[in-house]
Amino acid sequence: MAGEIHSSTDYIKHHLQNLTWGQHSDGSWGLAHTAQEAKEMGFWAFNLDTLGFSLLLGVVFFFLFYRVAKKATTGVPSGAQNFVEMIVDFIDDSVRGSFSAKSDLVAPLALTIFAWIFLMNLMDLVPVDWIPGLAGMVGLPFLKVVPTTDPNATFGMAIAVFALVLFYSIKIKGIGGFAGELTLQPFGKWALPINLFLEGVTLISKPISLALRLFGNMYAGEMIFILIAIMYGSGMMMASFAGILQLGWAIFHILIITLQAFIFMTLTIVYLDMAHQDH
């Protein structure tokens, strides 16, 4: 029994470990073969699986959309163009709905965020052992296929969005205006430190909430898939029950992955809209 628990724990840990490439403690560069090794690599290490899958999915997205965009006709749209246009129209409506200023960046940004995050989340629906199993066969120690269950990915995007928010805040309001916004409200200039603290928290909470919401949702979803996958190993009855559970959770998860992509996109639009508003 103890052994079983031990192996379940190992299984979960194995599934939650990224394929990390960095500098070993002995100074050589290479893949981390244990979680401990990955931890010791410090900041200057790369999660190859996160980067690889996110880049791959991004390329898939652009291949699909670029191909359609290149030969977009104004006449009767073909099937693929119809599909792409439906998404583009939906994004455009969302942007028009919540972004009041005029910008060439926000709509493509929103499209990229939505499509990319959706595709990355979609990897969650691939049964948890398929791709890591294949990777194990070719000798990779770990592989995490859902980039959005890696906080690096979500924080990476959130920080990028945050950088855009800062950039546009300063561009639209000027450094003085932005500083004023941070320090002179809500209590007037005599409570400057309090204002700075409150506004600072508001500002910092934007990327953090953006990143953690997506990460938390996807991580939890992935965890449940892993737990369901563990049940396959414990008898016919449990396995068939697990099959039903997995199907149910996967169907429910379709909603979650779309919703999370949409929330990330909408919040990005809203934050950028706030950055564009001059008080």
């Binding site: 939650l16 470990q17 990224n18 990390t20 960095g22 990955a38 931890k39 690599m41 410090g42 900041f43 200057w44 290490a45 790369f46 999660n47 996160t50 980067l51 996110s54 880049l55 991004g58 997205f61 652009f62 959309f65 670029y66 359609v68 965009a69 290149k70 977009a72 006709t73 104004t74 006449g75 749209p77 163009q81 792409v84 246009e85 583009v88 129209d89 455009d92 060439d104 960046l105 709509a107 493509p108 940004l109 499209l111 990229t112 990319w116 980039p147 890696d150 906080p151 690096n152 990915a153 924080f155 990476g156 995007m157 920080i159 990028a160 950088a163």
Partner: protein
């Protein structure tokens, strides 16, 4: 689960994708969408205009039709009037002609009768003379009894 340089890589690829999308994907799609929107709007407007024109034409056609009907009925009324006039005229004409023919015929009959009477009278005279001559067994001098004979003829 460690935070590491993946973060930076992810941010960079994010910016790259956004830039790519902004540059190559969004504008042509939006252009196509707007163009189609415009086309559809134009088409709808054209259809609306067409419908209006059709309505106008229909109204015009109705007017023309009504006018034509009116005209036709006037023409028919006129024609009927004219026809009755003609009938009336020809009736009158026929009547006068008939009357004229009747008068002429009766005049001729009268004439004929007179002539017959004349002829008859002459013959009666000669018969009477012949008869009288036979009766008298003598020749009557026509010249001598001319006056008498004339008187006789007038009496017949």
């Amino acid at each position: 689960m460690n935070i590491n340089a993946t973060l930076i890589g992810q941010s960079i690829s994010f910016f790259l994708f956004v830039w790519f999308c902004m540059k190559f994907v969004w504008p042509p799609l939006m252009e196509a969408l707007n163009e189609r929107k415009k086309n559809i709007a134009d088409g709808l407007a054209a259809a609306d205009r067409g419908r209006q024109e059709h309505e106008l034409a229909e109204r015009h056609a109705k007017d023309v039709l009504r006018e034509a009907k009116d005209e036709a009925s006037t023409i028919i009324a006129q024609a009927q009037k004219r026809a009755s006039e003609i009938v009336e005229e020809s009736k009158n004409e026929a009547k006068t002609e008939g009357e004229r023919l009747i008068t002429a015929a009766s005049a001729e009959i009268d004439q004929e009768m007179n002539r017959a009477k004349e002829a008859l009278r002459g013959q009666v005279v000669s018969i009477a003379v012949a008869g009288a001559a036979r009766v008298l067994k003598q020749e009557i001098d026509e010249k001598a009894h001319d006056e008498l004979l004339e008187d006789l003829v007038a009496q017949i």
